[in-house]
Subunit: 97 residues, 4 copies
């Protein structure tokens, strides 16, 4: 089973500069045992199940609730039950490799 | 505490017409004890916590995993810890009521 | 041709309360000749073409650029070339009407 | 002026395997004069204005309308008027470099 999640979470009550808050989320994700990639628009995580992906959002949100009165989050999920290593495979497929 | 989630989940291995699959998700959401609204682009749900919102996605995904090999999901969350009844309040705020 | 767009746009340099900025966007959308629906998480608009939908985002962004140094926007599109009146139809389809 | 857009667009009437369609979009983006990054969940593009980003979606959609009866697209935009080279800067900011 393979679920790839792309998500972004940040406080919207802290003004324009939010990297100090996002940094806490990234550190949490870096410590996870799953594959992940930081991009300029969010983080991509590949987990075995949807529940594992959703738990990453829950942890990220808990970190931000400690310091923020309003948190915004966007997420997209591509769930292929029965597959694995999709982060790498999907890029190869469209690159024709 | 109030989290509003807008989400959409559907199989992408079933061709153009997916309403029979989405219908199962809507029936599950209708039976939930939280406020929800079906729109032409997804469902809006208001829960007390992020975890309750994420559990709705988990249930919806489990329903679709029974019949699909590839599931796509998008979600956005607006989390205002300490607030409630935001689904109604937010529309009134921009409507100036 | 029918494209339904769900989108949300707001400044993230203005603190927690953004309804005064969002209000300007809603007034612009209300004056458009296309069908639209305000929800607690954004606005749903149905246009004949993708280009008309994208023009709505462009106008909304222009309004916010007048007063903001950082603007965030999310959008999802469901494009069914050759169809029309999908906002109503899609809800009926999953409601089984 | 700098707008970073993360977007994904694909047909939903072609079954589970859509890489042959997505490939056409990626080739179009590769030929653009702006910075872009292909990820496992979409493409990130940095343009000078919102209108340039929206034009990329329009072109991608036009390519898919040639072969599909139903197209789904998600996009998020981070618009910082007056800034530039944000794709690189944003990652450095959260990595603390």
């Amino acid at each position: 089973m393979s679920v790839i999640m792309e998500f972004s979470i940040f406080p919207i009550d802290k003004g324009e500069h939010v990297s100090q808050y996002v940094k806490k989320v990234i550190e949490m994700i870096d410590a996870l045992p799953c594959e992940s990639q930081l991009t300029s628009m969010g983080t991509i995580v590949e987990c075995e199940t949807m529940e594992e992906c959703l738990a990453v959002i829950s942890k990220a949100n808990a970190l931000l609730e400690q310091c923020s009165e309003r948190i915004y989050c966007t997420a997209t999920f591509d769930n292929k039950p029965g597959k694995k290593d999709q982060m790498e495979h999907k890029i190869k497929a469209v690159r024709g490799e």
